[in-house]
Symmetry: C2
Subunit: 488 residues, 2 copies
């Protein structure tokens, strides 16, 4: 079947559904949904899954030993939860390794007394620089410095300022991009500053820099730098690149406010190794009817190596598994199936999501709608949709039940589907976004601080209540949600 | 002169002062004090001094290169501020060095399926443990592990529980004290849990343990462990000892909740080296009159090595220097002098304070009163006094002006004088404590997170206003405050 045929069938189904007296169905659904929500609001299941993942697996960077353990863990968890089918799908990517990383700032402090200074200069007495250790972490995908390098630090407020600089200025220098990320509920500050991390290494290279330091793309003031991937799609080769923590970035600014140049010693033993294989882990609960269609819930199984990946994206993994379980355990299953996909190596280039979309594009019609949890563990405040116009009554029903949880609908923008499921959205998958409050997310994101203690069990329960609502209402419906117009 | 004679003179002076019409003096003082307070509330001086110390010197653990730099910095700063005299006094102590530190937890995860487990056991298949890196830091004064050691982890809720354990239970184990510090304004939670750090290493040794891990004595949830000294006065030899961060301590508790024993690999390359000399740095402003008496303000110049010592105790250093400067810059100096003492190596055993007290005990009578700032940089909410009864009217005057800043007097307990000046209090020095809100202090105390960004300039200004009040009122008085009854 091509997309148009599928679309037509869905439109027809919607029409037929609309012809029925929907009142009774809604009422029945209503009881079930409210009970499900209440159950979720007092359920420990998501937190238990998350605690198991963060303590029994811990850090699980794509391709690492922890990643292998995570795949085993996910299979075992899904089996224990009673998924009707559990399988894996291989995902290939180049393995990037972090072996060691260190950086120091070298600052020359000349005596403030001009007589003393002249006395020293007359005698050619060299002032040895003071050495300050920086809290630093290599950016994912960075090449190695191949031993320690030392060069003068050249600071720019923004990537645009670096782009406007001449090659002459920058050549031979270590560039420092000092832009600070602003805090916001929807994480808009991340989009504004993450270009330093993604494109900075290539722009610095194009200007002749020998390396790049960025201020961490994060909203905290902890001495824990934020890692994250440099872009995989830019032209050219990036320079060796690392992030310093916010307090260290502040200190670099203080050093640079002096009269003397500041040198940086940088030693990054990191880089790409062989191609390696990890796995998307997929689990399915059947629907009430013998059908091939299912609702797709997703999160990514991998994390960065510095923390235990509790908020990114252990919480998402736990939520979609727990939501599927609660809905499947109803006395009467919803009509359609529920597929949970735990994606491999989202962090280093959305490898799991891209691989899934390629493999499953021919069965797009079986995917009723997709939704992904990958923005921490704080409360959901809003939702967005990207569905066929004829599914609007169903979305209004969803809105009604989510309103009960204090979640509003945003009609300004369509749902994106998340990084991984967004790959399927690009080819036409309908999507719903349950949008979490991201005010605190970037305090911990991609740092050693991403650990279980950052997750409040009640917030996870609130999330779970929204997820069971979405899962049940989309899996137990006569309306088609998509396919929708493909969009980038 | 002996103390009794001094006391008598002070009593006499108080009596004479009381006979005068004090109203006019008070009014004049009043204008000056209020102007001083207002000036302090808008002064950047303390923050500027602190920014200079944390960026130009940075970490300054007793005996380190940073410590030497700090002594030079302090001399230069005091000279630039126009102190009438600046000098140093040698302080000797054994140098303790942190070269490297690491720890891992080894956790065996057996398959949950009993059939699989039996299958493996029948074939004597050994399950390799998973290895988890812990965020760990050696406690100051810890001996080295002399290479990597590995032993089973044995957890106790409290030090009392460890004390109650048998030697048989503990021998050969690595003890884990998991007590969590509670948050409080006055830092009472610190006193309750710091015994794990100070006495734990000796108790663990007496029970036959090979090493000690403690949960960090801190109120935060950052992956940044809290260092701090083990006691220097206990009998016997301590075991190698380290603190894990709070999130890592949580994770250890999760590991220990499993059925299998948890092993720890610990490698601490640390320990005492040669005896070394650092310096108390002392600066004085003369009083209006040609007298030998002065008010003593103190803070400690050293910090731990992990952070830049902004809240512990850079803020104190900045405050007492700035307060002395503001008061000395008045059109008319107060009657008596102001002595600022920046103590050496408080962190590792109050070496500067003890050395100062020994050297200066014969001139106790010249020290009118002592006050120390060493509890961070948040607002002062309360003050305590330890003075002669006849100084009570002066204390009430002080209370009146501090009330203007929202600071209340606590009459329940006498002032302690702080760690360093407390050494002089023990031999009879009168003392006043300006007590800071310590609710956030132990989030950063003794960690890499102790950096300038944790200090809010307005809070430092509020502190400064209280410090100029105390300094001016005690230096411009006819009343003696001490000596008081010596007390431990």
């Amino acid at each position: 079947m091509n997309h148009k045929t599928i679309s037509l069938i869905f439109v027809l189904a919607t029409f037929l559904a609309a012809c029925q007296s929907t009142l009774q169905t809604n009422d029945v659904n209503g009881d079930v949904v409210e009970q499900l929500q209440d159950q979720a609001l007092s359920s420990d299941l998501a937190f238990e899954i998350l605690a198991s993942l963060t303590s029994e697996v811990g850090p699980r960077m794509g391709g690492s030993e922890g990643d292998k353990l995570a795949v085993k863990w996910a299979i075992e968890q899904m089996r224990n939860l009673g998924f009707d089918r559990v399988w894996t799908e291989p995902v290939n990517f180049p393995q990037w390794l972090r072996k060691s990383e260190s950086a120091q700032a070298l600052v020359v402090r000349k005596p403030k007394d001009p007589d003393v200074l002249k006395w020293m200069e007359d005698r050619s007495i060299k002032i040895e620089p003071s050495v300050y250790d920086l809290a630093v972490t290599a950016l994912g995908g960075s090449p190695s410095t191949n031993g320690e390098i030392e060069a003068e630090l050249l600071q720019f407020d923004t990537l645009e300022a670096l782009e406007a600089a001449t090659t002459e200025e920058v050549t031979g220098k270590i560039v420092f991009l000092s832009t600070r990320m602003r805090r916001s509920r929807d994480g808009a500050g991340y989009g504004e500053t993450v270009v330093n991390r993604s494109r900075g290494p290539f722009v610095a290279a194009s200007k002749g820099a020998v390396a790049l330091l960025i201020r961490s793309v994060g909203t905290d003031n902890n001495r824990l730098p934020h890692t994250g991937m440099i872009s995989g799609t830019e032209e050219g080769e990036p320079v060796p690149s690392a992030a310093v923590s916010n307090p260290d970035a502040d200190n670099l600014m203080m050093f640079l406010s002096g009269k003397e140049p500041v040198n940086i010693r940088l030693n990054l033993d990191v880089g790409f190794e062989e191609e390696i294989t990890s796995f998307n882990v997929v689990g399915e609960f059947d629907g009430r009817d013998d059908v091939t269609e299912f609702v797709m819930l997703g999160a990514h199984l991998d994390s960065w190596d510095l923390g235990t990946g509790a908020v990114d994206d252990g919480a998402g993994v736990a939520l979609v598994m727990a939501a599927a379980k609660l809905v499947a355990d109803l006395p009467s299953r919803p009509q359609y199936g529920i597929r949970v996909v735990l994606f491999a190596n989202e962090e280093q280039g959305i490898y799991g999501g891209k691989t899934y979309a390629k493999l499953h594009q021919v069965e797009l019609g079986s995917h009723l709608v997709g939704a992904e949890s990958d923005f921490g563990a704080d409360r959901i405040y809003q939702f967005r949709t990207r569905v066929l116009p004829e599914a609007e009554p169903e979305m209004q029903k969803l809105a009604g039940y989510l309103e009960r949880l204090g979640i509003e609908r945003d009609l300004e923008k369509p749902a994106g589907g998340g990084a991984d499921i967004g790959q399927m959205r690009k080819i036409g998958l309908a999507a719903i976004d349950l949008r979490q409050d991201g005010s605190r997310y970037f305090d911990w994101h991609h740092t050693a601080n991403d650990t279980l203690d950052k997750v409040e069990p009640e917030n996870l329960q609130h999330n779970l209540a929204a997820w069971v609502t979405l899962t049940y209402l989309t899996a137990d419906t006569k309306t088609g949600f998509g396919p929708v117009e493909p969009s980038e």
